[in-house]
Symmetry: C2
Subunit: 396 residues, 2 copies
Amino acid sequence: MPDANLVEKPGQRVIGLMSGTSCDGVDLALIEISGSGLETRFKVQGKFHQPYSEDQKQFLLQCMDPRHSNVKVISQANFLLAGIWAGAIDSMLRHYGEKAADIDLIGSHGQTVYHQPQREDCQGLQVNSTLQIGDPSVLAQLTGITTVGDFRVADMAAGGQGAPLVPFFDWLFFSRFQKNMLILNIGGIANITYIPSDGDRMKVKAFDTGPGNMLIDQMMQRLYELPYDHNGAKASLGKRSDKLFAYLQKQDTFPDQPPPKSTGREHYGQDFVLSLLRKAIRWRIPEPDVLHTVTEYTAYTVWKAYRDFIGVEIESLVAGGGGSHNSFLLKRLQEFFTKIPVENVNHYGVDEDFKEAICFAVLAHECIQGNPANLTAATGAKRNVVLGKICPVNKS
Amino acid sequence: MPDANLVEKPGQRVIGLMSGTSCDGVDLALIEISGSGLETRFKVQGKFHQPYSEDQKQFLLQCMDPRHSNVKVISQANFLLAGIWAGAIDSMLRHYGEKAADIDLIGSHGQTVYHQPQREDCQGLQVNSTLQIGDPSVLAQLTGITTVGDFRVADMAAGGQGAPLVPFFDWLFFSRFQKNMLILNIGGIANITYIPSDGDRMKVKAFDTGPGNMLIDQMMQRLYELPYDHNGAKASLGKRSDKLFAYLQKQDTFPDQPPPKSTGREHYGQDFVLSLLRKAIRWRIPEPDVLHTVTEYTAYTVWKAYRDFIGVEIESLVAGGGGSHNSFLLKRLQEFFTKIPVENVNHYGVDEDFKEAICFAVLAHECIQGNPANLTAATGAKRNVVLGKICPVNKS
């Protein structure tokens, strides 16, 4: 294949790219990788965040909305995003005084605009699907760097939910600590990975627990016109509304579903939040109380997931992702988990904000090595499969 | 990479897959390839056509229509189509008593649902884009065969129109005959490739000429509720309407544009045909005359393209694609081209109905070899680039 030497090359330098469901921007991590599979070791050499403009964010949200998207918008956004990301990569490389020619590979998660893990009737067939945009082939051509993208598709085609994929990285990374751990990632959606102390791949469990920042952020936008609740300041001013909490528990059936499972904006999007907001208004619940309740509910769904579906004693809960900055959310988590320490993933040398970007750099490297990179226990796939599409560039 | 031995393996067996803008079905060709680049030689070992049901066709047309498509439909169709194609590949393999394990590679063009080569404003940036669905990673997982897809994207990202791609194949295949030739492919859209007698890549010219079957088929559907004009029987019953012909010449500005250029259903779709039909009704032009005129116009646009933009004497016009079955259309072509013989591509050992499928098998093979497979003279790209995304499967 175009860059066959890449497979053998030691110390590969890989850029990982993540653009999450919250549509706030793109995260980049530059890592140097050696080894592969469980022998994978990496060093973070750079990290970079480029926020989207409000227009860009609204455009992405339009792409995700079946009522306002169409084939033209999807096609254009697929190219546009790759262009924006190529610009971000260029900015990062300049920032670190690096050249594209010295980067071996890009691993791009892409931007999920649709994710439907449950099959439903489509033209008489039972179809599930996932769609990430920000074309990896465009990204490869614009940067001149071989790019691997579209990791979720192969898992779903192999009978999985196409998510979560980060648990594979968690397993690769946290197995070495040889204790029962729960790794929590708080993005738009929250997900957990249970790592057994013996590192047995078959014993790993992982699934989405429910909302991460998604409900909190949407509520902040609707109630305060602010993008997020900084350190949980608003929520900490309020108190829990039992009525609203009970309504959430009743309305939201996702936390009750047994894993494997995954969710997204389809479930916790505008409709969900508007219906919640209508209740809050009808019941005259003060705004900080709404924030408090939604934040507590977010922590509750993580704890409920552990209680109902892990069923093994753990030594620590390790939180990462943008939501781990919300100290109020972490406090609520600590209360639910009582004596089990809630730690930050930073303590383990993984940057909390760039874990997913690092993950997709590692996944791209695994693809090039021909290693299957889904955890069937996490995604429900029928078999372990190689994930990703390799977009080669000309031999140099 | 996952199947690194594939690069070196002689006599690779590759399935090419094409699903054209006419949405009538999927064409498959199984070829055995040796050599690469200009040394490529192949033997056709199988061919297979699986028609789409009327429901499937309507669903694909919905996907292409900005008024009726949305992100959900696109995402579902992307998976659904790959599933339908995996079934078609299975049927072909059974028909020929072959096993998937003996096939090295699939080259899948995919189904174009959007193609916009001209840049236009999108979020303040000038964006062009192309979107093919029928996910190659799904196809790879369902068949167990490494699949290369999405060939057009890289060319467009390199400044090209992403089309036409078949001219590369024409150049690879027809150079050996060492004469000035014009290769015509009549799909939904028609395109020509000029091959110079000395085989110089830089002298090749290629572009879409305008309608292929697209206007004829749509008129047959609207006037007779038939899918196409078999052998041009209806058209041959009528006579040319000079008024309608002149209207077509005036309304349709595409044939006047200088190459490189490409077009599709965006231009020659429903709106174009409905406006034509309204004129035909107002002017009381009999139905066979409408068919005759549209067919003659199709031939005229091919000739006009040769006259205006090739400007070199040729020894033969070689027609292929579904439209080359329309003997009335070929007769009209012969009249326009007077003494230059209009031949069928069959005479050169390339099946007229499966040329594009064969082409994408060859392009997939070139991708694996790391060979650039766009002709910049045809697409207008700034440089020759490797085309396609490689979707690996597990090492066996």
